[in-house]
Structure formats: C-alpha cells, structure tokens
C-alpha cells in the first residue's frame, strides 16, 4: 500500500511541516529532499509546474501539490490508522473552514511582522492577535482542535508555533500573554513525536529570517 513516497520540502516551511506531521502520524516511510529555493531542482519544476513551490508530495511518481490537499490525500490513502479528518461531514467542513482561515490570514500577517515596521507592523500585529484569539476560541475545553484527538486543524496550525518566536521578537509582544490557551495547546502538540520531529527549531527559524532580511535588503 505504501509504495514510494518522496517529499520535496524546505526546512523552515510551515506548509512542508504540515505534510511531514501527517506522514509521521501515519508512520509512513518517505524520502525527504531539501530544496534550495534560489535554485529549484528540475524535479520540483517538473512536479509542480503551475506554482513551482514546495512542498510537493510524490507518491509512486505522481505529484500532489498544496499542503492541505496533501494532508487530505495522506488521510484518505492511509485510512486505516490515525485519522485526521473526522467522519462527520459537518465537523469536516468546520475543520476545513478554520484550516482555510489559517491559510488566508496567519502566514501573511506573520510575514508583515518581520518584513515591515511602524504603522503597518502594528496593524499586522493587532490583526494577528485577533486571528489567533479567534482560533483559540475554537478549542473550547478540548485538548485538540480535533476534539479528544489530534486532527486536521491541529496539523494545519501547529507548524506556525515554531515561527511564533520570530513573530514575537520582531513584533515585541508575547503570544502566550495574549493567547495562553493556544500556547498550552501548542506545547501539548509538541509532546507528540510526529510534531516534535517535524517542526523546525524556533531559534534556527529566527536566524534564518535575519539572514533572509539581509539577503532581501529589508532593514
């Protein structure tokens, strides 16, 4: 059933981390290939000609692109273990809605925290905190967004946890102070091997962003 699984990825990418977590949850053996995004491999360009982006999941030679689509694919193919989406259609729609919300908001707002200054940065910080509070509200009294069990929305959001340190340093604020429940959730997720192994080290992310800013000529 397994076949050959390859993941084209870039170590700081929260999107790549989602797929790594899903593969680890399902205990799927795969080949991890690091891409240099300034010098994309022929394989990447061939497997994702439309967007030319990572992550790309390649299963038996066939590419699947876009991280949330990869997570759903992994969940459907390896459906005999560690289910990520619940069976109930309404709960699935709710999980997809909030994962889509994460996609629409968190990456761009977080990016503004380290790319911009002054008013633009302040506005992004304010909006990011509002979005994280909205997400925090979805937890309710549950240990995970999936309820009792770790699930799709947990996979979609938890990779951003290793970027929070960077957001906090540049934005000069504490996400834990604003959203304590959310941080408690993230720490709970980090106790899972699939998450701990898949997320990058937060200090390495911060160093990476410092280097990236220099390379992009951003003050």
């Amino acid at each position: 059933m397994e076949g050959e699984v390859v993941l084209l990825d870039f170590w700081p990418s929260m999107f790549g981390m989602r797929t790594r977590i899903a593969l680890a949850e399902k205990q799927i053996k795969y080949e991890y290939r690091e891409e240099d995004l300034r010098n994309k491999s022929a394989l990447l360009l061939q497997m994702n000609p439309v967007h030319k982006k990572i992550p790309v999941l390649i299963h038996n030679g066939k590419p699947i692109c876009e991280s949330l689509i990869q997570v759903q694919y992994i969940d459907e193919v390896w459906n005999d273990r560690a289910p990520l989406l619940p069976p109930n259609p309404y709960q699935r729609a709710t999980a997809r809605f909030w994962a889509d919300f994460v996609d629409k908001k968190i990456y761009d707002l977080g990016g503004k925290l380290w790319r911009t200054k002054g008013e633009e940065q302040e506005a992004a910080k304010k909006e990011l905190i509002e979005c994280l509070k909205l997400l925090e509200g979805q937890l309710g009294d549950n240990p995970y967004f999936g309820g009792k069990d770790f699930g799709f929305l947990d996979v979609a959001l938890v990779p951003f946890y290793c970027w929070f340190y960077t957001y906090e340093k540049f934005g000069r604020f504490s996400i834990e102070a604003e959203c304590p429940k959310l941080i408690a959730w993230a720490k709970r997720c980090m106790q899972k091997e699939s998450v701990a192994k898949s997320l990058a080290d937060q200090e390495k992310i911060y160093d990476f962003v410092l280097h990236l800013k220099k390379a992009l000529g951003i003050e």
Binding site: K62, I64, I69, V77, P89, R92
Partner: protein
C-alpha cells in the same frame, strides 16, 4: 426531486460563489430556499452576520440551521452529505487533482477578471494574465469533456459560474475568450447545456450591467 429538511442559502444574485452552491444542490436533486441578501453593501441581515461572523459574506449554506461558509467548502459538504451523484472522482489521486484545480481557480480567476473590469484604461498585462490562466485550465481539461472527466463534477462546478463575468471582461478588455481559448469556450457551452447550471446562473448581460454600475459608483467610468 427529494426534499431534505431545512436547506437555505444566503445568496446574492451576481455572486459566482453562491451560484456554485446552487449548482451543487441542483445536481443532487435537492430543494432549498434561496434567500437573497438585498442590501449586501449597506445592511446585511442578522442571519448573515450571525451565521458568518468571521467574514460576513455570502454564500452561507444552512442545513437545519447549522451554517457552512466558503463556497468550495460548502460544495464539498454537500457532496459528502448527499452522496449521489458523486461530484468528486472515486480515487484519492483524482480527488487530490480536483482539489488542486479548484484551489487554483479560487486563487486566480476572479481576481484576474477584476484586474480587467476594475481598470479605467484597457490593461494589456491584466488581459494577458487572464488568458494565461484560461490556457492553463485548458491544459488541465485536456481532451476531456469536463474537468471531472466524462461526467460533470466538482471542478466544473467551481469554475462555471465565473464564466458569467467573461462577457464584461471581453467588452471592457476588447477581446473574446472564444478566439483566445476555444477549448475553454466549448467547455463553457457544454456546461451551460446542463439544467442544474442554466437554472443557477444569471444572464451575462445583466452581470455586465452590474459591472458598469459598479464602475460608475467607484468613479472608474
């Protein structure tokens, strides 16, 4: 026609996103109430604001009072709740491909039309970008009758309502889709022959009038 209890769409006549939901429900043979938000730009209904507090946008689909938001997610929900006829292919890889193209259409098409019809002057760059996107979709279509294969399905539903805006784009941009992307044009005509689609879509001439009115309101014309 089967009647399922309490199906309601919060709708706005020109929204291609609302039309996706209607087509999906029509395909499944379901009856539903279509409630029009008459004052989307001024006074949204309480039900809309309560059902979609995050975005406050249409469409909202209410199933026995429980709201589902975001058109692509609503179409997936409808497909998973009422299984016949299936809108997605049976195999996991086919489903991943369908979701990929639905996501591509969501990311690219409506904004590309907007770049043309919101522009005061004829914007050649915007026109080329729009044509490029349709050509990419033509490649995805290949020799198939529908994006879904031999039968109409998920990606077709996501794409077809956007074509009602193409007349406006053609008139303002000064080109025709039929000439630039004939395959895409044939696919459009094929879909419009389906009753589920024809019933749900507005007359493109009325969409054009709406665009002209919007341009005037925004001081573009």
């Amino acid at each position: 026609m089967s009647k399922a209890a309490g199906l309601l769409i919060l709708d706005y006549w020109v929204s291609p996103f609302c039309q996706r939901v209607k087509i999906a429900l029509n395909e499944k043979g379901l009856q539903y109430e279509d409630r029009h938000e008459n004052d989307l730009f001024g006074g949204k209904s309480e039900l809309l604001l309560n059902s979609n507090p995050v975005y406050q946008k249409v469409p909202v689909f209410l199933h026995d009072g429980k709201p589902v938001c975001e058109s692509t997610i609503i179409v997936s929900y409808i497909d998973e709740t009422w299984s016949s006829p299936p809108l997605l292919p049976p195999c996991s890889y086919g489903r991943a491909q369908a979701r990929f193209w639905a996501d591509y259409i969501d990311k690219k098409v409506f904004d590309a039309t907007g770049n043309i019809w919101r522009s005061k002057e004829v914007n050649v760059e915007a026109k080329n970008e729009f044509i490029g996107i349709l050509k990419q979709l033509e490649e995805a279509l290949g020799d198939k009758d529908y994006f879904n294969g031999a039968t109409f399905g998920f990606v077709d539903i996501i794409a077809i309502p956007l074509t009602c805006w193409f007349l406006a784009v053609e008139r303002i941009g000064g080109f025709t889709v039929a000439e630039e992307c004939p395959k895409f044009s044939s696919w459009t005509k094929r879909c419009l022959q389906r009753e589920s689609v024809a019933k749900a879509l507005p007359d493109p001439e009325k969409v054009y009038e709406f665009v002209l009115m919007f341009r005037k309101m925004q001081g573009i014309d």
